[in-house]
């Protein structure tokens, strides 16, 4: 069974690779490379996979899930300029892919329990663009 909890945060970022020229950054990232940055209302959906505990009927306590997501994601990310204020984005480009992977790394240990594990992180950068991350997997299929 999957259970999903949503949280939101608003943050600014700029997507550019310091090893590329301004012109190349513009070509690769478009408007997202504008040097002073821009922002999004990010929507994060975190899904846990597991079996309900026979005693509580819950896969994971949603109150605790909310606390973990607030502490590990919303507090460090909300109303921040990711590149300047939230490591590792001082040296990792804060694309939605990299943000989703960083969020996975921050929260995964907190959901690893006998009856539950982190299944996926879905990060909406806008309502029209989102990324799903399922943890490290070999690139086979």
């Amino acid at each position: 069974m999957l259970i999903t909890r949503k949280v939101e945060f608003s943050a600014s970022h700029v997507c550019r690779n310091p090893r590329l020229s301004d012109e190349e950054n513009q070509r690769v990232f478009g408007l997202a490379a504008n040097p002073n940055g821009h922002g999004h209302n990010y929507l994060l959906e975190v899904s846990l996979e597991g079996e309900p505990d026979p005693f509580t009927g819950m896969v994971f306590d949603l109150k605790e899930m909310k606390e973990v997501l607030n502490r590990e994601v919303v507090e460090p990310f909300d109303h921040r300029f990711l590149n300047h204020e939230v490591p590792p984005f001082d040296h990792v480009i804060p694309t939605p892919e990299n943000i989703a992977r960083d969020i996975w790394r921050r929260i995964e240990p907190h959901f690893a329990r006998p009856r539950s594990r982190l299944h996926s992180v879905r990060l909406y950068e806008t309502p029209d663009l989102y990324v799903d991350y399922f943890g490290e997997q070999p690139c086979s299929a």
């Binding site: 690769v28 694309t95 939605p96 892919e97 989102y130 990324v131 799903d132 991350y133 399922f134 490290e136």
Partner: protein, 144 residues
């Protein structure tokens, strides 16, 4: 490995009518969707691709390249069109949203290698909502 999904919208009209059936049978099968002059929807299309993040860009899919592909193959030919009359594939095929999903998936899969010449990203699935309540999804692997 990431799955990147982009959402698009287009408005189009269609009529569900199977030429092999009688008018009465068509009315019974398709109900209001068989009304002779057709009707329209605001279709919402989600296109998903999967792949690893590129080391230089941190992106698994270049959304602008995907936008160009979807605009050329789907949005421009379908936007404000009558699917039955204006889209070749539906001259002899009822444009149910199942068939529309197949047609969109086929178009994207056919043009995918030219737009994304490397091994990654791969087209994973398309999902089309005809209305907020009726949603159709198919994997690219279902298309030969």
């Amino acid at each position: 490995m990431f799955r990147v999904t982009r959402r698009y919208q287009f408005a189009a009209s269609h009529r569900l009518h199977a030429p092999a059936l009688s008018d009465e049978e068509n009315r019974r099968l398709y109900g209001k969707c068989n009304n002779p002059f057709g009707h329209g929807h605001n279709y919402v299309l989600e296109v998903s691709a999967r792949g690893p993040a590129d080391a230089n860009t941190g992106s698994a899919v270049d959304p602008r390249r995907l936008d160009e592909l979807v605009a050329r193959e789907v949005l421009q030919p379908f936007e404000h069109r009558n699917l039955n009359s204006d889209v070749e594939a539906f001259r002899d095929l009822t444009p149910t949203s199942e068939n529309l999903a197949v047609e969109i998936c086929r178009r994207l899969k056919r043009s995918w290698p030219a737009a994304f010449p490397g091994e990654w990203p791969k087209l994973e699935k398309v999902r089309i909502a005809e209305t907020a309540r009726n949603i159709f999804e198919m994997g690219a692997h279902e298309i030969q």
